[in-house]
Each structure stands twice: as structure tokens, then as C-alpha cells.
Symmetry: C2
Subunit: 477 residues, 2 copies
């Protein structure tokens, strides 16, 4: 048994790889600096030892661990190490690494190597890495596949990214309902191996229509003389390939599933979804939401070249710049007022900042409720009322405090009053828009999470400046 | 088989519950308005029908679906519906709902009800809801448990929230290695039921020391005459209860596990972790990170009373207010400059805003790399160099554009130059601090994700104002 099996262990492996790489590079450097042939000989022996240790270490690693180490290394070291990975592991490693890192590895491989790597994978797995593969490689792989897997590959590549079809695999064992468990047990022994995550066998009729599932648990605890039809589960979770993937993963969470069947419109069994595909989906979704909040377009290789990182980040920076320019022009409208009372310039970011923070709180609440399907037409009004209530309480509370401080600093009671009033109004605006933006995006069929944060900040910035400077102009000047 | 099994279906159930509730309330209102006893009689018949339909609907629902519906209802309806849930489902539902909603349900229950609900749960599940239960209820439950489960409950409650111990359950089937598979198969039939997520049996010696695991797959495909010792897996993932839960979930992802054993320091089997606990953990972690970014302290009941929501949100608003005040005082330092050149007031939020956006991009990258353990002392310098490079490219690019626009709007070349220079410097500051903040928090043993976003924004706001206004004062006035 592996002991202390965790990331710390994995980080040790990474450190060991890095140490071996460093040793190797160090000696390489020495060889290049010196001319003595004798010295060179000694070094080359050391080098061979270094490389042998590296090879030995890599050979013991799980493909997922190799993927982790490759992702953690700068490009040069990554490609150097990649050559040490056994050919039969190439496919699995390509499957495990992030899209960005996969691109760097594939760019370093020849067509033949790529075809060999892809051929080790199942049809659904090939479909996962296909977007990164050159067209000629895909064609070669496709031609080498047996008929059945060709169709699976074609099917798997045809489903949109956020559909159940994209999560589906074809590792299913089917049985008939009119046999005894004894027969099933013998059949499994005949197969000699079960696919990973097999917690149930699929019961189909002669037309491959799904009749139910036989849980392995039931197979194990019942008398072998029992008929499959007597112990199979007829009520169970089944998906269609075009169902929404996120909703499918929520069903996995709610009902604690390990696998679930996927059927077509006629009820014909197409494949299954397993919990490991679900976990990957949840993880990717969470990461893409975090990236989206921060304004990163896609997953970024930690050691991407600078120009690639710039490209990954420029879109959101550009949007941000545009909204900042708009806010700036709003301020520009009131330059006369600021010239007369320069304190306005120092105070206005407070109104905008707290409004943005509060709006983001509201939007996060609503986006989560929408993702869980908890917002009905019934309770929308209740939600808006609540958020407005919260914003009013916050407005009077924080507006009061800020107004008081303003009065103390500037010894100007009306300025304090304007500040308090602007805070209340901007928090109110933040609450309203914080509910309306995600609901509207949802209604338009868009993902309510994407860009909501940028939008609300744009509104609370420009709105906050306008409210505060406008009030000041009206009431103070 | 349930067809169309997804959230849409679930939302239909929710709508049906809401419709029945509305019908009921409508009639209730009519009864209160009218005095005629005959009318009342008719209404009461209708009411009975309504309630019967409601009861029937609830009875068909999975506890997880009931939990979902309860979370989606305003407090009054939620508590009304809660009474219709069968006593034997109470425990499961309490386990499924969010902390905030659980509190509202528990507040509505008597001690006896709570004890009855808790007693339906396993020890590890009781530990999960224990923080929300009154002390006397926990004591009663504890006393009613058999000796073995008492110890399990005590153990489960003793582990910190982020440890493997908190994810662990005790539903393990143990076998000996010196028996034939035939004996194991008979033993399972004798048990009559296997715990959910049983994909392996745990092989222990007479001292309960873990010797290996027997995968159900192996049990099924091998000859029943084979000895357990010949087909069991000795190398496998095992955790200690005090291991970091997040690292354990990453191992589940990497190695596609369904369950894994938990052993103490001596190698004695304590329990197991299953993939459903892992999914819940990943989900909760992702949600708490999203909340943290938005400045929500904890999970909020969608229909929480206003004062409760205010409490949930005030801490981050207060922090935000303090940082906004500091930024405001930085501007205050330069009031003389702004008075002389009021365009500065309109331009300064651009410098601050784009810097904050860029800093958040950097921080998100680094936090993710830290969570995956990809940042070693080796590559820190490389990371900083890369981020500085990206920020310089972005700085010259966006700084140039902004500088040009500034020149065009204000017809002032020096102002455009100051603007460009300030953008470059603030983006540089954002990159530096964006790497340093999470790395420092990690080094101090804190969660690098928490509060990083607020901190970077504080730095790029105050820093941006200072850089821009300072440069303007030096170069323009």
C-alpha cells in the first residue's frame, strides 16, 4: 500500500524530477565549458546515470501523476521529460493534462506518434482530445478503428460540449432479463475484466431497448438461481445525449450515483455516464467560473509564453477599459462641480466601490440559485423585495457611517448628507441590477454567470459617479 | 424508468408543489372572509383534497428532491411543507439541505422529533448535522446509540472540517485474506445488502490492520475457488484521518476512485471515503470560493430574513469600505493638483480599474496553481518573471491606447504621457502584488484564495491613484 498518499507525496515526486533535471543540465553545462576528452567521458557516465534514474522514476508514475508533473514544469523541461514517457502511456497523459499544456505536447509530436497515442484510447476519450489533434491524425486514427468504434467516435464528436453526450462513454456490459444470476456471473467470469466504475449492468431486449439495470450489489447478495427480471431496477436515472450536462451532474450529486445510462429518444441504450466524468465536469465548470470572474478567457498554461498569456487576458481587459472610459466620461460631465468642490473627487470612489461590492454579493446569490433551478416566476418578486430590503438596511447603515466620517473630515454637513444619500441610492441600484442582470441573461438563454460581474461593476461605477456627482451638483453648488 | 430525468423535471415538481400550496392558501383566505357554515363545509372538503394531493406528491419524492424544494420555498411555505415530510425521511432531508436552511427547519422541530430524525442516520451523518443540533438532542442521540456507533460519532465529530476524517464514513465490509472467493460470495449473500458505493471489500488481519482490498470486479471475474490473497490489491490509495481533505479529493480525481480506505497511524482500518462525499466537498469548496470572491461570509438561505442577510454580508462590505476610505485619503493628498487640473479626477479611475482587473487575473492563475501544488521554490522566479512580462506588454499596449485617447480628448500630450506611464506602473504593481499576496498567504499557512481579491483591489486602487496623481503632480504642475 502506498502510505501518505496525497499531494505532499506528489510534490515530492515533482521535486525529485526537478532535481534530476537540474543535475543533468548542470553536467551538460560543464561538458560544454570544458574541452578535456577525459572529463567528458566521466561526465557522460554521470549523465547516463542521471537519465536512467529519471527514466526509472517516470516509469513508476501513474499517467495522471505524469500529467501533473508536466503541467508544473516550464516548457523546455516539460518537452525534455515528455520524451521519457513510455509510448503506451502517451494517450492517457494527453487525456489528463489541461488543454493548454496538451497543445504544447502535441506540437512536439510527429503524426505517427500521435496516431499511436490516440489508438490506445477509447472512442469517447479520442473525442475529448480530438479538438487539439491535426486533421490528418484524426483521419488516420478514424480509419484504423473497428466499425463499431468509428460510429462511437463520430457520435461522441457530434455532441455539444455542455451536453450529456460529451460526458458519455461506451464501456457498458449488457445482459438479458430472462436469465438467472448464475448465468450473469458466469458471463462476467468469461469477460475476465469489467470496465472501471461498473456498479450496474444494463438490461436490454433484443432491440437494445433499455429495460432496467442490474446493480452489482443485487447480483452479489441474491441467490444465483434468481432471475435477472426479479432483482433488476426498473426505475432509475437515465439521460438523453442532448440533456444539459450540468443538470446531469446535479442528478449525480442528489442521488449519489456512480454511473447512469444514456438512451436515445426510442429508449435504445447508447452508453453511460460515470462519476469520474462528472467530477471532471464539476471541476472544469468551477474553474471556468473562477476564470470568468477574474477575466481570463481560457485555462492558461502556467508557463505559457508571454504573448499567449497576453492574448488570453486581453479580451476582458479591453471590456474593462471600455467600461472604465464610460465611467470616466460620466465624471467628465461634472468637471465644473469638481473644480468648485474638489473633495468630490476624493469621495466618489467610495460610493462606486461599495456599490460594486454589494452588487457582486447579490449577483453571486442569484447566479447560484439560478444554477440550482431555485428561482421560479413565483418567487422572483420575493427575491427582488428581499434584495432591496437588504440594500436599504446596508445603505442607511453604511451611508450613515460614511456620511458621518465625511462630515468629520470636511466639516461640511451637506456634503456628508449628499454622501449618505448617494450611498443609499447606489446600493439600491446595485441590488436591482444585481437581480435583473442574471435573470435577463437566463431568459435570453445565456449563461447567467458569464460577464455578470463585469456588468454590475460597470453599472455601479458609472451609476455611482453619476448619482453622487449629480446630487452634489444639485444640492451643494 | 423515470424519463426526462433532470432538473427540468425537478422544477416541474417544484411548480406542482407551489401550485398546490397556492390553491390551499387561496381557499384558506376565502374561508376566513366568509361566515356561511355551508360555504365553509364545501371549502373544507376542497382543502382536504388539496392537502391529500400535496401529501401524495411529497411521499413520492426522493429526500434530496424534498430538500431542493424546501430550499426553493420562502420560509412560511417551507415550514408548512416540512410537516408533510414523513418522519422516516426527516433525517435524510436535514442532511441534504444547506446549513442555513437546516437551521430554519431545526428551529421548527421539537427535541423528540429531532432525536427521532437523527437516529435514522449513520454516525458520520449525525456528525455532519451535529453543529446545528441543540446540545440536549445530541446527548439523547448519543445515549441511544450502540457502543460501536458512539465511538464512531465521537471520532467523526473530533476531526476538523477540512480533514479526511470529516469525509469518512464507517460503512465498510471487511474480509480475511485466507479464504476463497466462494466464501466471500456466500458472506455477501448472508449480509443481504451492501452499503452504497461499495466497489471494494477491505481485507484485514485479526488485529484489523489493513492488508489490501478486494475489488468487486476481481471478485466477480475470478474463479470462486481462488484465494482472496491471490486477487486482492495490495498497492492502493489509503488516507489518514488527519490528511488534508482537498488533497484527498484531488487523489479521487486523478485516480478515478469510487472509494478509498482510511487507516490510523498503525495501519488499522478506521473507515472509508466515498466519491459522493468527495463530490459534496468539491461542490462546497467551489461555492465557498465563489462566495468569498463576492464577499459573502457563508451560504445564505435564498429567503433569509433581511437582518440575517445583512449580517452575512456586512463583514466584507466593512473591509471594502475601509480600503475605499484609504484610497479616498490617497486622493485627498492630491486635492491641490486636482483643483489645478480637474481632468485628473476623471482619468484616475481608469488607472485603478484596469490595474485591479489585471491583478485579479494574475491572482486567479496563482491561486489555482497553488491549489494544485504546482508552485515549487524552483519555479517561483519563473512565474514572477512571466507575470511581469505580461504586465509590461499589457501596460505598453493599453497604456498606449489610453494615453492616445487622453491626448485626443484633452488635447494635452503630457497628460497622455502621464496616463500611459501610470498605466504601465500600476499594471506592474498589480502583477508583482498578484504573485506575492497568494504566495505569502500560503507561506503563512493561510488559504491563499480567501481575501486575495479584496487585497489586490485595495493595492491597485490606492496604488493606482497614488502613481497617477503623483506622476501628474511631478510632471505636469
Amino acid at each position: 500500500m502506498m502510505d501518505n498518499f496525497d499531494n505532499i507525496e506528489l510534490q515530492n515526486k515533482l521535486e525529485r524530477v526537478i532535481n534530476l533535471l537540474r543535475k543533468y543540465r548542470l553536467v551538460e553545462g560543464l561538458v560544454q565549458m570544458q574541452d578535456s576528452p577525459r572529463q567528458e567521458l566521466i561526465e557522460s557516465v554521470t549523465q547516463k546515470q542521471n537519465l536512467a534514474s529519471l527514466q526509472k522514476l517516470i516509469d513508476t508514475l501513474h499517467p495522471a501523476d505524469i500529467a501533473y508533473i508536466l503541467e508544473s514544469l516550464p516548457l523546455e523541461d516539460r518537452l525534455f521529460l515528455w520524451k521519457f514517457v513510455k509510448v503506451e502511456n502517451d494517450g492517457e497523459v494527453l487525456l489528463e493534462v489541461s488543454d493548454a499544456v496538451r497543445e504544447t505536447l502535441i506540437a512536439d509530436m510527429g503524426s505517427n506518434e500521435l496516431v499511436a497515442a490516440a489508438e490506445q484510447l477509447d472512442a469517447d476519450e479520442i473525442a475529448d482530445i480530438a479538438p487539439n489533434l491535426p486533421d490528418d491524425v484524426i483521419e488516420d486514427v478514424y480509419r484504423a478503428l473497428p466499425q463499431e468504434e468509428r460510429e462511437q467516435l463520430r457520435a461522441a464528436m457530434s455532441y455539444p460540449e455542455d451536453s450529456v453526450g460529451a460526458l458519455m462513454d461506451f464501456d457498458i456490459i449488457t445482459i438479458r432479463e430472462d436469465v438467472r444470476l448464475e448465468v450473469v456471473l458466469r458471463y462476467l467470469r468469461f469477460l475476465g475484466e469489467l470496465p472501471d466504475h461498473t456498479d450496474q449492468l444494463f438490461v436490454v431486449d433484443r432491440n437494445e431497448l433499455l429495460q432496467g439495470v442490474l446493480m452489482l450489489n443485487q447480483l452479489l447478495v441474491n441467490d444465483p438461481e434468481t432471475m435477472v427480471s426479479n432483482v433488476m431496477t426498473k426505475e432509475g436515472v437515465k439521460f438523453h445525449p442532448h440533456d444539459n450536462a450540468q443538470q446531469a451532474t446535479q442528478a449525480f450529486e442528489r442521488y449519489d450515483l456512480v454511473s447512469a445510462s444514456v438512451v436515445d429518444a426510442d429508449g435504445k441504450l447508447l452508453g453511460r455516464v460515470t462519476v469520474n466524468a462528472v467530477i471532471d465536469f464539476i471541476r472544469n465548470k468551477a474553474e471556468s467560473e473562477a476564470r470568468n470572474l477574474a477575466g481570463l478567457s481560457e485555462q492558461e498554461d502556467l508557463f505559457a509564453p508571454i504573448w499567449k498569456s497576453v492574448r488570453n487576458r486581453w479580451a476582458w481587459l479591453a471590456i474593462n477599459l471600455v467600461t472604465a472610459f464610460i465611467a470616466s466620461r460620466v465624471i467628465g460631465l461634472f468637471e465644473d462641480s469638481i473644480e468648485k468642490l474638489v473633495a468630490l473627487a476624493a469621495l466618489m470612489p467610495i460610493v462606486a466601490g461599495v456599490g460594486g461590492n454589494s452588487g457582486n454579493q447579490t449577483i453571486t446569490m442569484i447566479v447560484r440559485a439560478l444554477a440550482l433551478g431555485q428561482v421560479s416566476t413565483e418567487n422572483t418578486v420575493k427575491l427582488i423585495t428581499k434584495e432591496i430590503g437588504v440594500s436599504l438596511v446596508n445603505g442607511f447603515l453604511w451611508g450613515g457611517i460614511v456620511g458621518l466620517f465625511t462630515f468629520l473630515i470636511y466639516q461640511n454637513a451637506s456634503l456628508g448628507l449628499v454622501m449618505a444619500l448617494a450611498m443609499i441610492l447606489n446600493l439600491l441600484l446595485a441590488a436591482l441590477v444585481g437581480v435583473i442582470i442574471p435573470l435577463t441573461r437566463k431568459k435570453l438563454g445565456r449563461d447567467p454567470a458569464i460577464g455578470s460581474s463585469v456588468l454590475i461593476t460597470a453599472v455601479t461605477d458609472s451609476g455611482g459617479f453619476f448619482i453622487f456627482l449629480g446630487l452634489a451638483t444639485l444640492l451643494l453648488l
